[in-house]
């Protein structure tokens, strides 16, 4: 508990210091990370805590975005709702739409619930381009941020702090919510909603409330997006965003409060960092999702907690070699996969074909990758990734063996101490 608080404090301090060290583009990416983190946590109130997997959460995010844009347009950032408070419009819209949509969606649970949320979001997505006065058609709605409270909100640093304050406050409220009676009941809903009925609770009402609160915080995230981008079109309603928040939450781990925030921040950063480096970044993102879900079903926070458990059980000294082996194995496998993907992507690109046609004397010219030329016909080009791949596989085996040995040792220790314990008794 104490170390938890310490790390939270460190994290918050780092977030506040971030603008000191950052470049503009990194700061903009950080804003996106913060918004994605809030969105994922709002989603997780419904999914991880309430046990209701929504496939259409982009709808509430998008409604928040458009409500905030319209509020910015209408009020011009003066009067009752100055620019820093604009996301409140998103909150109200998210809440209102959440109550209506939630009323229908929560009539059912499980797969049917997921299908209704998906259908409602798709409905909005299909309807939005036609409602030009509301969503502005293709060109969308755009507006201007107005200065308020003596702050111009003209640069990324100011926007970053605005977003940071909103996101930290919202996350704090969401956390406190888990300790309120309704918040505790949310876990009960996930665990056994049938039993709650026979304890006198109206399960449908509870579900609508939780749905609406989740939609409200999604609306705040959408509102922050509106304040930062000053424009949006109906693309925010795309199912891609709904899917992304599900995946982000699961990658971070839905069973830990900050898990989804971690997952969303990391994946957004990954998108920012890798999209500049590689054209195949969406492929990597997808592969990462699949790998995490296959091998770490409890997400990254699940990995952290099992690391802590193992550390407590076996000690750092015995655990570290295994961990390093795993790390090296994963790195080797990743390097070989990335090499192959990048090489093939370049080999099949139009540029390369044009290059090859331009000079018939050299039908398969070299491709520069990682600062080295590689020939598509050369043996080293193919042997390198394959060797790295097998090295990775070998490392995986080593790591597994070491881990098994550790478990066996622990068993022996346990039975030994049991035996001696019995010996003393008799």
């Amino acid at each position: 508990m104490k170390s938890m608080r310490f790390w939270l404090l460190v994290g918050a301090t780092l977030l506040f210091l971030m603008p000191l060290v950052h470049s503009q583009s990194l700061l903009n990416a950080s804003i996106q990370m913060l918004i994605a983190a809030l969105f994922a946590c709002a989603f997780n109130l419904l999914c991880g805590q309430g046990g209701m997997l929504s496939f259409g959460h982009a709808a509430y995010f998008g409604v928040g975005t458009f409500a905030t844009l319209h509020a910015m347009k209408a009020m011009g950032g003066v009067g009752l709702l100055p620019t820093p408070l604009m996301p409140l419009a998103g909150a109200v819209a998210g809440l209102a739409f959440g109550i209506i949509a939630g009323w229908f969606a929560t009539k059912r649970s499980g797969t049917y619930f997921a299908m209704i949320t998906l259908a409602l979001a798709e409905l909005l997505h299909a309807l939005a381009p036609h409602l030009k006065s509301l969503f502005g058609g293709e060109s969308g709605v755009s507006t201007m941020r107005m200065p308020a409270w003596g702050i111009s909100f003209g640069n990324s640093t100011q926007l970053y702090y605005l977003t940071l304050v909103w996101v930290l406050t919202s996350l704090g409220l969401l956390y406190l919510f888990t300790h309120t009676p309704l918040g505790r009941l949310t876990f009960g809903l996930r665990e056994n909603s049938h039993r709650l009925r026979f304890l006198g609770y109206d399960v449908h009402h509870l579900r609508v409330l939780i749905f609406a609160i989740s939609a409200m915080f999604s609306g705040i995230a959408g509102g922050l997006q509106a304040v930062c981008n000053e424009s949006a079109n109906y693309v925010v309603f795309e199912s891609h965003l709904s899917a992304l928040v599900v995946l982000n939450a699961y990658i971070g781990g839905v069973s830990v409060f900050l898990g989804p925030a971690l997952g969303a921040a990391l994946m957004t950063f990954f998108g920012y960092a890798v999209s500049d480096l590689s054209r195949s970044w969406l492929l990597y993102q997808g592969a990462l999702f699949v790998v995490v879900m296959m091998f770490l079903p409890t997400g990254l926070t699940g990995l952290i907690s099992s690391w802590n458990e193992s550390k407590a059980q076996y000690g750092l000294v015995r655990l570290l070699p295994v961990a390093i082996l795993w790390l090296v194995a994963v790195l080797l496998l990743a390097v070989s996969s990335v090499f192959l993907v990048e090489f093939l992507q370049r080999m099949f690109s139009q540029d390369y074909r044009a290059l090859a046609l331009a000079n018939p004397a050299v039908p398969w010219p070299a491709i520069t990758l990682f600062g080295r030329p590689w020939f598509p016909g050369g043996a080293t080009t193919w042997l390198t990734p394959i060797l790295i791949f097998f090295a990775g596989c070998w490392m995986v085996r080593l790591a597994k063996d070491r881990w098994q040995a550790l478990l066996d040792d622990a068993d022996v220790d346990a039975s030994l101490s049991e035996a001696t314990g019995n010996g003393v008794k008799s």
Binding site: L176, F177, H179, T180, P181, L182, G183, R184, L185, F187, G188, E191, N192, H194, R195, L196, R197, F198, L199, G200, Y201, D202, V203, H205, L206, L209, I213
Partner: protein, 251 residues
């Protein structure tokens, strides 16, 4: 005798073509411990589902405290003071024992839609939860996950959850099923102690339990009440002996 707290009138329930409950007539009086026995498939659990609102009857009436309840949702029936346990343990396995019971206690304090107050700031709820845990002797296990309790502890927890709303009428569906002799004895004592001053309907297969615990017994056979009476009357009823008890009582 005083007025019935629960009255079933010509209650029927069919699933598709199959009639499970075929016109049950039953009065349960305030303060009595009433057992419902009968062979497998007689419709005992279905009867509980009908009374508690888990199933809607095909026809017939259920009066609880002189008001009809057969069309009400489970939570509305519960709020009128009728609580039940389930044949298959029905708890929140991944929440702690304390948390399980607190969810049950909270209802009565009308806090369920509260999101502006921390639950820990409502000491009364925690206090009552602790008291109940003590009464079912689970205080020492309060931080354990409910799913990790032993079977009989889970049953005790479920009875505590049933009691948490301070009900007038309690339905217990086979609370002793699958328990050892010691556990059963312990549970009988617990039930006797905890349901004092309330009305209890219990479905149970263990005849020792049924005859020692209950004031009256109803025998349900093929969806109809064959006989109702004191343990002595039931023991000596030739129809019951023939249809159900047979050798068991003779021996």
């Amino acid at each position: 005798m005083n007025a019935p707290i629960l009255r079933l009138q010509n209650l029927k329930k069919s699933f598709a073509e199959t009639e499970i409950i075929r016109g049950v007539e039953l009065d349960i009086f305030q303060g009595e411990r009433h057992a419902i026995i009968g062979p497998n498939g007689a419709g005992k659990s279905t009867l509980f589902h009908l009374i508690s609102g888990n199933l809607k009857p095909t026809s017939g009436e259920i009066f609880f405290n002189a008001l009809r309840i057969e069309e009400l949702a489970p939570q509305e029936i519960n709020r009128r003071g009728l609580a039940r346990s389930f044949q298959i343990t029905n708890i929140f396995p991944k929440l702690t024992v304390f948390e399980n019971l607190r969810l049950a206690v909270m209802r009565r304090h009308g806090l369920h839609y509260t999101f502006w107050r921390m639950l820990s700031k409502v000491p009364l709820v925690g206090h009552e939860t602790d008291q109940l845990l003590e009464r079912v002797r689970l205080k020492a296990r309060s931080k354990t996950l409910a799913g990790e309790l032993s079977y009989s502890e889970q049953r005790a927890l479920e009875i505590a959850m049933t009691l948490a709303c301070d009900p007038l009428l309690i339905l217990l569906d086979e609370p002793m099923a699958g328990m050892s002799h010691e556990e059963t004895d312990y549970m009988v004592g617990l039930i006797r102690e905890l349901t004092a001053g309330r009305t209890l309907i219990i479905v149970e297969h263990d005849m020792d339990v049924v005859f020692s615990l209950s004031d009256r017994i109803s025998v349900l056979v093929y969806g109809q009440v064959l006989a109702t009476g004191t343990p002595e009357q039931i023991r000596n009823d030739p129809k019951v002996r023939e249809a159900y008890l047979g050798e068991e009582v003779g021996a």
